[in-house]
Amino acid sequence: MKEPNNDKLAGLFRKMPLDNPPEGFDSRLMEKIAGLAAEKQSRKARHTQTLRTWTLAAGIAAIIAVPAIILFVLGFTFDASKIPSLDIPIAVGGNSVFGLIAVAVLMLTVTDTLLRRHMNNKHKR
């Protein structure tokens, strides 16, 4: 879009100087920016930490659950009386999967408690 040659309005705008922001504008702004950057950084760190915790928990769960599922699919049942050397008085009746799940839940609870304690300590520091 071409300006008309006699565009006096354009001439007026050309005389208009660019204003400088008030003194200290840069420093005030950069202070806020630094605060935002720090917040972003800590958010990122928290996210990474959460991701690590979940990965660890999922790994532990998988270590326990995968063999349990395989045993369940293969129809393996555990009867302690068939292992003479163990000499366990009560035979684990029914399906061993339930026993394994109970162990898994216990281990996850312990892991969760330990991780929470670790993260709390880190946060306090």
Partner: protein, 184 residues
């Protein structure tokens, strides 16, 4: 060259060098501040809005995909932020689309030359503040920042033909109102 420098500093900021953002602020603050100051009433308001613009730019820097130039992208944020901020305070503006139909197609009177620069700029400021914020920004970008119609289209989200029509109406309005002020 400027775009190259902008991209260089953007990369630094994205890599965690927050201080590099200072270079971007230095480069654009005067234009953003001036554009905003022409619309709002006080310098404090202009400073607050300009700060908000740069904070948004910083927070959105990861989203900049270089599909448009960096300056266009930054001015788009400034344009939208300013309009939202100004509209929060003053919701009622007359649309130029309706009123300029009654206005004559007069050019700015030669009498403007009889005033000194300070007076001329005072008149220009007065008329700019009468405009709706969108229109004030469009005309300021066009004349003060020398943005092309296509660039303004990219900044405002309006089509190029719409920008041309708007520029015509804004000029008509401004010439009329400036002539009125000169005649007083």
């Amino acid at each position: 060259m400027t775009e190259f420098d902008d991209i260089y500093y953007i990369r630094l900021v994205r890599n965690g060098n927050t201080n590099a953002f200072g270079h971007i602020v230095q480069r654009y603050q005067r234009m953003v501040y001036t554009t905003v100051a022409k619309i709002v009433e006080t310098r404090e308001e202009a400073e607050d809005i300009t700060q908000e613009v740069f904070i948004k730019v910083f927070q959105s820097l990861d989203k900049f995909r270089a599909e448009s130039g960096f300056s266009t992208w930054l001015y788009r944020i400034a344009y939208n932020t300013t309009i939202t901020a100004v509209r929060k305070q003053r919701a009622n503006y007359i649309s130029l689309d309706d009123i300029t139909q009654k206005y004559p197609d007069d050019e700015l009177s030669d009498e403007i030359d009889s005033f000194n620069t300070e007076e001329q700029l005072h008149y220009l400021d007065t008329v700019l503040k009468m405009l709706p914020p969108e229109d004030a920004q469009i005309i300021t970008l066009y004349y003060l920042n020398n943005s092309s119609v296509n660039e303004i289209s990219g900044i405002s989200g309006l089509s190029s033909s719409n920008v041309k029509v708007k520029l015509h109406r804004i000029r008509k309005f401004m010439n009329f109102e400036l002539n009125k002020l000169i005649d007083k």
